[in-house]
Amino acid sequence: MGRKLLLEKAHVAGITTYEVYRREGGYRSVEKALKSMSPDQVTEEVKKSGLRGRGGAGFPTGMKWGFLAKPEGVPRYLVVNADESEPGTFKDRYLMEFIPHLLLEGMITSSYALGSNRSYIYIRGEYVWVAEILEKAIDEARANGWLGKNILGSGFDCDIYVHRGAGAYICGEETALLESLEGKRGNPRIKPPFPAVKGLWGCPTVVNNVETVAAVVPIINDGGEEYAKIGIGKSTGTKLISACGNINKPGVYEIDMTISVEEFIYSDEYCGGIPAGKKLKACIPGGSSVPILPANLLLKTAKGETRMMTYESLADGGFASGSMMGSGGFIVLDDSQCVVRHTYSLARFYRHESCGQCSPCREGTGWMEKILWNIETGKGKLSDIDLLWDIQRKIEGNTICPLGDAAAWPVAAAIRHFRDEFEWHVLHPDEAQQRNYGLMHYADPIHVPQPVMA
């Protein structure tokens, strides 16, 4: 049984209420920080913890906080990114729905460290009821003196507001999120300047994911060094993984980053294996943007080592034979699934969500969707596969924000690892309408420890 730091109490009866949360030891980190630590000491603990951004990029949180500009007389802001829209990802919703005060506690402590007197939760618009849960929790926290003026007599003022988006994946990108919070279209900004210097309303701003901010609570309670003892290498602490697709037990799991991918998929403690006697074909381990891996490369790296649920191990082999931890959106495909159709579905998603600012993304995502639809419906040509490869290469790295990369990577990885499935669709269009390609060789053990070159 892995150690749980965030969800340990998520199922205590009544934990959504302030009374129960407090009785269970809630808000201790705020007391500790405000009464016995300076803001810089709080930041120092976060640096020591090795905590990495849980939204997808995995950037060290303490370092991000360290970049925050602090000019005299200019307000600073903490904005929590609760826009959770990466297909496969539903962990933040779970945390906010079941233990909302944990996020607020983390926000107050983090706001103190950053000097933010007005902090926002930008939550995706569709999570209407989750926003209501948070607003109720905020009212309770305010009524009990954890928000407002002069909290705990420390002289620190802080308030938290919920801001609902209105349906746009792009607003999970931090500068698009800030534009949206300012009441505009979610068009990402050109960086630099980074939000740490010019963010919300032109003021220094830190944007952190829900899970990241919640993790500040155990870090302050137990100390950064204790937190850093959990996990392997630079993958410290626990990570929420939202598992979905073809598994027996989809849901949100908190793992300490010491288990293997195989254990995560097959153990009864986690996903419980693949249903209906089917076999594992492929998996996207970190949200739809990260590379899909066939079963054989998922469970073992190209070097033949056991692949672990850590940032480093999931990325082992680079994009040639590895993937990424990403947001922790773990999507499993069994042997009855079609990689072409699934890739088409993701391409449609990215076309729909492209903000349209940059031509490579605006035009390229739609083009890829059309080609994939042709291949899927038996109207594809072999040259289309190379064309897809060419388009994704021309999107990647050529856009203002990472949505272009996010749209390119799933297509690139699908072709890299499942090219024969694409070719089969083209060469056997009628058969491909009747049945799927199946498992084929995708789960065969890897004998040659050599990365496949792109």
Binding site: P87, G125, H163, A166, G245, I331, S345, H352
Partner: protein, 168 residues
Amino acid sequence: MSLCFSADKLKEVQQIIARYPEGRQKSALLPVLHLAQQEFGGWLSTEVMDYVAGLLQLQPIEVYEVATFYSMYNLKPVGKHLLEVCQTGPCMLNGSEGIVAYIYERLGIRPGETTTDGLFTLKTVECLGACGYAPMLQHGKYYREHLTREKIDELIASCSAQPVSASH
């Protein structure tokens, strides 16, 4: 202008504006548009958008460009019950296409269409963050998850029995 929020809703608008620093009332645009859509029949007409612009002291174009960007704002009338079926990857793996097909079988509407009695509109949407509970749809404020034909039947029956206004 004939259109106006009730006194209660106007108070709510003021509370929303107060979440942001002085002079930043443009930030209230997304939440106020949600409120307007909920109050004025489930969609945003030009008249409604102009009204919101006036309330927040914005140019109408500032409202139009936002309303047309975000997928939750309906720019055309919708039925009393809006059924938004997620069709992205993980939901697709778990049979979202069958859900869309079954709703067509039951109600005779395809994505983007409204039943002739104005009771239901069907939309397909992209990932709603419920991938572990697929297939799913959003109905007004709430998610309906782990969908089956039986659950669709129940939903249609309950909507037909007690029509409530579409809300967002």
